[in-house]
């Protein structure tokens, strides 16, 4: 019975391989549980006019982005111009989801940092955010023509993410019939 002495070595090899794999991953970035599922329904007042409502219907019929943001979110400031660039380059409308914010703050923020959104839905309680599986701000969802979530970016969109993932995905979804 001499062969069992190699077992510890084998365990180590497995462990090191696994940990090495772990190093290539970002543990804090989670894929959305909603990928390839219909966007959760919502019915929220818009920022511009509290009496007007925007619903999931707005996501039907065209490829769109949903960007979750708030005026208290520092990372959103830098992201704002990038979101504008994406709409400019792809023509995809962005629906802003103003998450747990105060109306005056949000309105002022848009005048200061620019308004890349076609419409801003106000989720003051964060209830819709929970339905969308929003953990932090900013988060960005890609929704296709059928209103199905196809991609999600957690945190501020980086230059690389925009060029290598978001824009190609948006273009591909747009060109699909």
């Amino acid at each position: 019975m001499r062969w069992p002495v190699v077992i510890p070595g084998l365990v180590l090899i497995g462990l090191v391989a696994m940990l090495g794999y772990g190093l290539t991953r970002q543990p804090s970035i989670l894929p959305s549980a909603l990928l390839d599922r219909p966007a959760p329904a919502f019915n929220l007042p818009t920022l511009a006019n509290p009496d007007r409502h925007v619903t999931t219907q707005a996501l039907q019929g065209q490829v769109s982005l949903v960007n979750v943001w708030a005026s208290w979110c520092v990372a959103c400031r830098a992201e704002s111009s990038r979101v504008a660039e994406i709409t400019q380059r792809t023509g995809v409308p962005v629906i802003g989801l103003n998450y747990k914010d105060k109306r005056p703050d949000a309105t002022r923020w848009l005048t200061v940092f620019g308004n890349p959104f076609s419409v801003v839905a106000v989720d003051a309680s964060g209830r819709v955010g929970i339905d969308w599986g929003v953990a932090g701000v900013p988060e960005t969802f890609v929704v296709d023509r059928q209103g199905v979530i196809r991609y999600k970016v957690v945190g501020a969109i980086t230059e690389q993410q925009m060029n290598q993932r978001l824009i190609p995905i948006l273009n591909k979804l747009k060109s699909a019939s």
Partner: protein
């Protein structure tokens, strides 16, 4: 200038470590003892150099030298001086320096305490430890130099992480690291055994005190950490099964198994290759812990700022050190003489075999639970979390039998024990344990839940069986017990005390999470808690909102406690300081939540019965280890020259021929 001196000292320490490791190994391989002699002075030199480096960093903190990046990132002129000193090991680079300094200290301790060892043994041990030092020194100098400067120097530093601004921080990491690093000595002895091919009772007698010492440090470190988390995190919990906690718990479990298997190997000359493997594993798990804390593969409350490059290096170091050892093990271990002595189920070695199985499987369970999220992700099974509910469920069935075994520890004799001896000695403790198990939960926290009853019965069984042994040994005569026996007894009593604490604190405490306005009160566990109000206080580097709560039992004022919320000036972080009414039989724990409208606060009040027993158990166990360590059997043969070193005796690996114990 001083930081550069520290940097230079680090480089010199690396040189010393190279000498400490390579020369003796060459001497050993070439049969030239003269080279082996270099190990001891090199170890001394390495320690001195690391001491200089450590002092240089501490000085930079003391004088607020913010041109040193590490100081600027982790200190602040408003930070009290003792926290500035604690900040030396408050983040990655400095804690690595602490780790290496302690490793060098253990090397030095080996030099000082092992004069009676054969030169090839002591120098081989030092060489192995030197190799580990080389790995960490290169790592530090290449990726984590604590002395890096920045110009221009900022006028003020960022603050030390407020979570760490607690007296617990000053003592917890050094103790924990002493334990982690201490297992390197047992590891080095194991490698030496593989190289020299000797695992006899002399070897175990050298290895045991080192293992015990490391275990004592680790036990104290973990206990302090738990106590600190209880005081500082504000949720009334004492153990969170966080990856970083698990990282310290795994080596502890395997180290505990090692202590027991060393006893078997020493007394009976069996399980040699198992013992050697455990010694390697204990240190391997220490290294794994280092990796988990510093690489960022897992999310933890306590993890350091993460950097994949560091992760890759430590993983390489882990693979190299442990892989090399296991290769050596696979090659040499089959040569160890396997004992032909019988092992009976009803014998101390049988008992300790079971002890080892449960401890090692428990450690494996912690490992599986900690790393499973990575495995699941790698196998494409999705992202999942493994948390306290998993560990609690899996751990209970693995450790309950262990506590049952503890009760038999003193009664079970080596080689063989007749069942009648066991029953005649243990029936009384067993019956008493059942009575205590039913009575204690009922009369203290008023429950008869199975977990509480079983836990208290098991805990008191461990305590009572240990006392039975002491009473029987000392009855009728004034016999001076060897300290090793007293130490073992104390450690096992510690286990019992701990188990009772654990089984009563969880689930039966009760907690309230309510909104309180000044003047309002609530009742918890027979105590009336009144919220008197909040006052603002200015600390050295924070502003605190300090609440006052009056605790009454009937009309008697038991105590006034002051939970607080501190907002630290520099980081703007808010920390909870819990207010605790401490009592042997339970704490009332109050922590402030948020300030709500019209002067109300959200307040959490916890009743934590027997929570002190958890740390008392830990410290008792450590004290027991310390007492066993001071047993003169480890020290008295210092004067004599080393054991007869004839290969024949070594090959037989017999313990009994030596006039020991």
């Amino acid at each position: 200038m001083i930081p550069e001196l520290g940097h230079l000292a680090l480089v010199l320490a690396l040189m010393m470590a190279l000498v400490q490791s390579l020369w003796p190994l060459y001497g050993l391989a070439a049969g030239r003892p003269i080279y082996m002699r270099l190990a001891a002075p090199a170890a001394l030199g390495q320690f001195l150099m690391l001491g200089v480096a450590f002092a240089a960093l501490a000085w930079a903190f003391y004088v607020n030298d913010f041109s040193v990046v590490y100081v600027a990132d982790n200190s602040n002129t408003n930070l009290p001086w003792f926290y500035r000193l604690g900040a030396v090991w408050g983040a990655h680079e400095g804690s690595l320096l602490l780790w290496m300094t302690e490793l060098a200290a253990w090397s030095l301790a080996v030099v000082l305490a092992s004069r009676s060892l054969p030169r090839e043994v002591s120098s081989c041990v030092l060489a192995v430890m030197g190799l580990v030092s080389v790995g960490f020194l290169v790592f530090t100098l290449a990726t984590s130099n604590p002395f890096t400067r920045q110009f221009p120097a900022p006028g003020q530093g960022r603050d030390l992480n407020p979570l760490l601004q607690d007296p617990g921080l000053v003592f917890h990491p050094p103790m924990l690291y002493m334990g982690y690093v201490g297992f390197s000595v047992a590891f080095a002895f194991a490698i030496t055994a593989l190289i020299t091919g000797r695992v006899d009772s002399a070897w175990t007698r050298w290895t045991r005190p080192w293992t015990l010492a490391a275990w004592v440090f680790l036990t104290i470190g973990i206990t302090l950490g738990s106590w600190w988390a209880y005081n500082e995190l504000g949720w009334g919990g004492w153990w969170f099964w966080d990856p970083v906690e698990n990282a310290s718990f795994m080596p502890w479990l395997v180290g505990t198994a090692l202590i027991h298997s060393l006893a078997v190997t020493e007394k009976r000359g069996i399980f040699q290759s198992w013992t050697v493997l455990l010694a390697i594993t204990a240190f391997a798990l220490s290294l794994l812990g280092t990796f988990l804390v510093r690489s960022g593969v897992l999310i933890s409350v306590h993890a350091f700022a993460t950097d994949p490059a560091r992760g890759v290096y430590i993983l390489g170091l882990l693979a190299g050190v442990v892989g090399g050892s296991l290769l050596l093990y696979a090659w040499r271990a089959p040569r160890f003489a396997t004992g032909t002595e019988p092992v009976a189920v009803l014998s101390r070695e049988g008992l300790l075999l079971l002890n080892n199985i449960f401890l090692v499987v428990a450690a494996a369970a912690v490992l599986i639970g900690t790393l499973y999220p990575i495995l699941a992700d790698g196998l494409g099974l999705g992202r999942l979390s493994v948390g306290p509910p998993y560990f609690n469920k899996v751990f209970l069935p693995l450790t309950a039998p262990l506590v049952l075994l503890v009760g038999g520890a003193a009664t079970m004799a080596w080689k063989r024990t007749r069942p009648v001896v066991l029953t005649s000695r243990l029936w009384l403790p067993a019956i008493l344990a059942v009575l205590v198990g039913v009575g204690l939960p009922l009369f203290t926290v008023g429950t008869h839940a199975v977990v509480a009853v079983a836990g208290c019965a098991l805990g008191s069984w461990a305590i009572l069986a240990a006392f039975e042994d002491i009473v029987r040994r000392t009855r009728g005569r004034r016999l001076k017990l060897p300290r090793q026996i007293i130490g073992m007894t104390l450690a096992h009593v510690g286990v019992g005390v701990f188990v009772i604490g654990v089984s009563l604190v969880s689930g039966f405490g009760g907690e309230r999470d309510i909104r309180m306005r000044p003047g309002q009160s609530l009742t918890i566990a027979g105590h009336n808690v009144t919220f008197n109000g909040i006052t603002a206080q200015q600390g050295p580097n924070y502003v605190a909102q300090v609440g006052t709560f009056t605790l009454r039992q009937g009309d008697r004022v038991v105590s006034r406690i002051h939970p607080a919320k501190r907002r630290y000036d520099d980081s703007d972080a808010v920390m909870t300081e819990s207010g605790i009414d401490r009592d042997v039989f339970g704490d009332i724990y109050v922590s402030l939540g948020d300030s709500l409208e019209d002067g109300a606060w959200s307040v959490r009040v916890y009743n934590r019965p027997f929570v002190r027993w958890i740390w008392a158990g830990g410290f008792l166990a450590a004290l027991g280890g310390l007492l066993a360590l001071s047993d003169k059997r480890y020290w008295r043969r210092r004067r004599r020259r080393h054991e007869p070193h004839d290969p024949a005796a070594a090959a037989r690996g017999h313990a009994r021929r030596e006039p020991a114990v």
